[in-house]
């Protein structure tokens, strides 16, 4: 193969690679971006019905309810202005508890209950999801309540 043809092949394969990349990225991106909303945005109806998104906030004390022996649990998340009711059926993460910041993935149903298929509470007792932290900061400073979550850390 001549150097000229080689360059052509090289150029062609790079172009092909870039085109492939752009193609896959656009396709895969379209459906897999998940937006985060805080409870106030959900209450204001800013969220799409029937589409997956993430919602996060603090789980208020006394909001977690479970029928004895059932896998389904109902709780709320709040940004101290509004709350969203969440329903989840499955094993909750170890660090899920009242007073903790969490993020849930799922959809809103017709009754305005957020049906979660995944609940995240990260792996450190001091952890506060940054989205939750920011949205809490914006509305209210829950100071003591957040501090109380940190178990035994000096």
């Amino acid at each position: 193969m001549t150097p000229r043809r080689k360059r052509l092949v090289l150029f062609g394969s790079v172009l092909l690679g870039v085109a492939l990349a752009a193609g896959i990225a656009t396709l895969a991106f379209r459906d897999n971006l998940q937006y985060f909303y805080n409870p106030s945005e959900v209450a204001a109806g800013k969220v799409p019905v029937g589409k997956r998104f993430r919602v996060g906030g603090m789980v208020p004390n006394g909001s977690v309810h479970r029928e004895t022996g059932s896998l389904t649990v109902n709780f709320e998340v709040t940004d101290f202005e509004n709350t969203v009711k969440i329903s989840y059926s499955g094993v909750l993460p170890d660090l899920f508890r009242e007073g903790q910041g969490i993020i849930a993935h799922g959809k809103l149903d017709n009754q305005g209950v957020f049906v979660a298929d995944e609940v995240l509470a990260k792996h450190d007792e001091k952890y506060m999801p940054p989205e939750v932290r920011d949205s809490l900061k914006k509305t209210h400073t829950p100071g003591t309540e957040v501090a109380a979550v940190g178990a035994s850390k000096s």
Binding site: M1, T2, P3, R5, K6, V9, L10, S13, V14, L16, G17, V18, L20, A21, I24, A25, L27, A28, F29, D31, N32, L33, Q34, Y35, F36, R54, R66, T68, G69, S70, L71, S89, G90, V91, L92, D94, L95, K122, H123, D124, E125, Y127, P129, P130, E131, A151, S152, K153, S154
Partner: protein, 650 residues
Amino acid sequence: MTPELGHFALALALALALAQTFFGLMGGWKRRSRWMDAAHSAVVGQAVFVAAAFAMLSRAFMTNDFSVAYVANNSNSALPALFKFSALWGAHEGSLLLWIFILSLWSVAVSLFSKSLPETFRARVVGILGLVSVGFLSFTLGTSNPFLRLIPAAADGADLNPLLQDVALAVHPPMLYTGYVGTAVAFAFACAAMFEGRLDATWARWTRPWTTVAWLFLTVGIALGSWWAYYELGWGGWWFWDPVENASFMPWLMSTALIHSLAVTEKRGLFKSWTLLLSIFAFSLSLLGTFLVRSGVLVSVHSFASDPARGIFILGLLTFFIIGSLLLFAWRAPLLKSSAGFGLFSREAFLLLNNVLLVVSAALILLGTLWPLFMDAFSLGKISVGPPYFNAIFLVPGVPLVVAIGVGMHSTWKHSRLAPKPVVFGVLAAVAAVLALGFMVWLSHYTLLAAVGFMAGVFVIGASLYEPWQRWRGGHSLPAAVLGMTIAHIGVGMFTIGVTGVESSKIERDIALGVGDTTEVAGYVFKLESLKPVQGPNYNATEGEVTVRHDGDLVATLHPQKRSYWVRTNPMTEAGIAVGPGRDLFAALGEDLGGGRWSVRVQYKPLIRYIWLGALVMALGGLLATADRRYRRRRPEEVAVASNSAHAEG
């Protein structure tokens, strides 16, 4: 006193790193032998002082010196000894010290084992490694000193995060860092070559074993992390596309591309600029990984603290190394011309395809990882990019890549000619199809994707075995490099089969179980037999006994635990896993639901072991390849590149 001695040793190490940089780079430029010798002495000196600092911090951990803030935050007197030691790299400051320690070991190795290289080249390599070390030492001393005192001292420590109290996790960071830091060696070789204006087959031959060793550590490190996430995070996934996982995977993809592109540069003198760029990218992505993990920009299991000063410092380092090396590249790369041609189906073309596919998937993963940051930075909303995106962008370049390996291994350099006859590939493809069908019948899972995955995996393994078989039949010897390549590619095949098996046919179920209740998954009947309290060295736990029966026969008894550690009181899940050659059976305890019932997650994971086994086999292949004799010739004389025959070494 020991913490202060450690601090002092680190400061001395910084001074020596500065000397190493200056004498290495200037000595290489001015061709002053004594300066260059001084650089190599500085390498050893720096390593001694870094090792001393490391030993001082270890001592503080082992002796429960809770007057050191870092120890007080990450250890406890009740912690088992092994974890006291591994707690050293359980958080930010110590893991940086580990990074530096490993870099100093790599530097000593390069300085000692590359005596056959030209003096100026070797000095420049060491100088650039010194520069990297200066960056990280000043970062540690300036923002993340592990030796800071806590006054008054804590009565007892706050304990190591229970998630990290695990053997695999004790080993995972050192392995991964050895790989990360190893990309710095390839980077230093590339920069030194650009300074020298010398980039020929010999250069590629010097670089190859170092790159391969870095790559194999990276492979093992990532596999260990994945294995740990599987059994310790408690939920049975093996890869989450977590930003930090991506941060380690991108340098891996780049180093894999680099290994292959170096083969072309060594054998045929082609792809020179490309190889240089890949060296720069691999190191940049390692730095970016460190930045993403340590700065707290992205939050995950691994981010320890979000101190803005640290983030800005690492960002500065990142910019310096990336911009600096790219400028150097722009300045020197035009000197490197390669003009040999190659055929459309030659080995060069296949390796080019390999590179394009690997780099494309790395670029798309980078896009998905950084996109949420851009969106947030420009206030366009808070988004996350879900795993389906990553699955898609990994699958699309990944499947052709695996198939191309099988064919490309048998192509010849320069000419479009395959060594075996086409009928061989036909037979292989037929065998692959039959075995793939076998897998699918066994798993009762029939989809196109599974068929393609199993076929590709089997095809690669078969194609890899073809050449050793031919050589064995013809009575030829098998050089270590060919053997290594063969084994690494078999590893790729095993990995492909494992991923296909798990992702097509895994079953996960969350269920509420009381003692005596059963649930059935893929023909396996899980029964919760009992729940009882148990006590460990530093935790209390509830332990379940779960029996698993298949057709009435007892196949496994699992003991999942829900632990509560004494110091950090958060609950921890220890899964019960029965390992088998065909499948894993998995049970994890969720929580007490009241009424005597617990939430339990049970899983059936076919072929999952082959994911990690495949990775280990890949690493083994890399290890064998570095043992090839041609890397150990004292003075590689031949610079000219001869076109190799059919049995060219990869």
